[in-house]
């Protein structure tokens, strides 16, 4: 087991390095001079050319690409991702500051999506081809077809502007910041994000439970005299929820994508909002830092998915 985990970690480190190279080369391939790119366009003036030349040499941009990459990578892993062009603040500080709100949004959304997907998927599987099942299918297809930012706008229109129940933007009201206040700000973005990822999860729970319900061991349980509810809860569900842990893990990065968009709609002060702003301001260090954070998140989730699968399922024996 330990060997398995160590091997997985090593593989993931290699992959992370490869992704780093990819992002690095991409920035290199970007239109424009890297030094110029590090200088906010507004600061470019007449006579900057000489300065740029000297900076080139100073930054070692005339060295071979690999050497440059190595330097950049070493800085990156030690937490130095450079500074934002715009705010001049260190990128890692900016990102870490934004991490908390994003994690809060995503974990609440995850809880909501599981609270929807598991019961709905179970009911849809047990009551196959009934109204509930069709409603679940419609919901699943609906939430993957309607863009979440549009749902967000509709929700703001209804709940903030027409009904006045919930705040439309930010994480807290000025001068407030109590748990209740944050919760009121959290409800809409988290609910929409949760709903969006509940769609595929519901489909998954339904599908895997249907598969399990036709398994031989379910018939054995029935032959023992177990009631239908017990057959589902004690036997089939256990088998279908084991892979769900993995699926949820793999789904977390996809959820981050949804969070990026919804943070924009609800002005939620998370990493997504930061990234989108950085992209529209061509703030390369922040974009790169964000990309590396996401890559790390994806790899960690993948790793946890592998480990969770190996740990939870008694059938999986890894060495």
């Amino acid at each position: 087991m330990t060997a398995f985990v160590v091997r997985r970690i090593l593989v993931n480190i290699v992959v992370f390095i490869l992704i780093g190279i990819g992002v690095f080369l991409l920035v290199r391939a970007a239109p424009g001079d890297p030094v110029r790119m590090m200088i906010p366009p507004a600061d470019l003036q007449e006579g900057s050319e000489a300065f740029i030349e000297s900076r080139r040499a100073e930054l070692g941009l005339d060295d071979p690409v690999l050497v440059q990459y190595g330097r950049w990578f070493l800085d990156a892993v030690t937490g130095d991702l450079g500074s934002s062009f715009i705010s001049r603040a260190p990128v890692s500080e900016l990102l870490i500051e934004r991490l908390g709100p994003t994690v809060l949004l995503m974990s609440t959304a995850l809880a909501i999506s599981l609270l929807i997907a598991i019961p709905l998927g179970i009911v849809a599987a047990v009551r196959r081809n009934t109204g509930v099942d069709y409603a679940a299918a419609a919901l699943s297809l609906g939430v993957i077809s309607v863009p979440s930012f549009f749902l967000g706008i509709v929700a703001i229109y209804i709940f903030s502007l027409q009904l006045g129940w919930l705040p439309s933007a930010g994480m807290s009201s000025p001068g407030d910041g109590t748990g209740g206040d944050i919760l009121r700000h959290l409800i809409m973005p988290a609910a929409i994000l949760g709903l969006a990822s509940a769609g595929p999860l519901t489909r998954y729970v339904r599908g895997s439970l249907i598969d399990e319900l036709s398994a031989d061991y379910v018939r054995t349980a029935e032959a023992k005299g177990a009631a239908p509810g017990r057959v589902v809860a004690r036997h089939a569900l256990r088998n279908s929820l084991i892979p769900l842990i993995t699926i949820v893990m793999i789904n977390i990065p996809q959820m981050l994508a949804g969070a990026v968009v919804l943070e924009q709609v609800f002005a939620w002060p998370g990493m997504g909002q930061l990234a989108v702003r950085a992209v529209s301001q061509q703030d390369y260090p922040v974009i790169v830092g964000f990309a590396l954070y996401v890559a790390a998140l994806v790899l960690i989730c993948n790793l946890l998915a592998d480990i969770a699968y190996a740990v939870v399922d008694p059938r999986v024996k890894v060495t």
Partner: protein
Amino acid sequence: MSDLRPSLDTPEVAAAEEVVAAETTGTAPRSRRRSPAAMAVRRFRRNKIAVFGAVVLLLIVLLAVFAPLIAQQSPTAVDLGEIRQPPSSEHWLGTDASGRDVFARVVYAARVSLLVGIVAALLAVLFGTIVGAVAGLFGGWLDTVLMRTADMMLSFPPIVIIIVLAGILGPSIPILILSIAVTTWPTTARLVRGVTLAVREREYLHAARVAGASRGWLLRKHIVPAAMGQIVVVGTIAVAGAILSEAVLSFLGLGVQPPQASWGNMLNDAQSLTVIQSMPWLWLPPGLAIAATVLSVNFVGDGLRDAVDPRQSGRS
């Protein structure tokens, strides 16, 4: 990434292999008399929701093709004397902040959405087919590298990749199409690889003559025909995803740039509470247009999936 854990799409690949095996050995009881394609068409036409989706989609395509005939006004003509006008007989859906006709913009935006969606999906399917076939035909380390890359790509959220790509390379329609394609090809690649392995297995078992056949011949004569149905399904669903991605990116201001109209960038205006509150004609039509288009493409995609492989359908 890992061989041992479940994934959402492996059953499809397994099913693809089954279909290949059944169709070519003639053991599938249903495909004895008619060709599989004809049977799929029959099943599709019996699926009411899918047919409904196809009809709506056809209407949207017609809207895009005949945009100049349908929208009498220009989608880009600025009229500062008539900004943010509510719907009227002259401007059916009102005007935006620059006095442009919203109806014309919604109609013309269908062109952009469909163009991006279809071209990106086609590129992704083409690339995915090549990669999948190469991986399946050559095997060995090449297969490992390609499939690991595909799995890696699948585990990254497409929107984030596209944001980063568009952020670094600059927003434009070609970059948008390319970055969507880059995030979409792995699904097709895995599918085609599965089919390729199944075809190879079968060919080696049943026909020694293939031993001398070229890989290109195998690809054209066996793999692509066997995988076609599934490729169409994956491609259709990729179109839906690409349209959504375009909308999201344009909404964030990283996709289609004004003055060109796209449903996503029209919604970009709806980031102010005043607009949301008092000018719903600015954001409701493009939002509904995206939802209707993506939903109908998904209806068609689901219908095709059930038609191509009825055992996958889940609800029969």
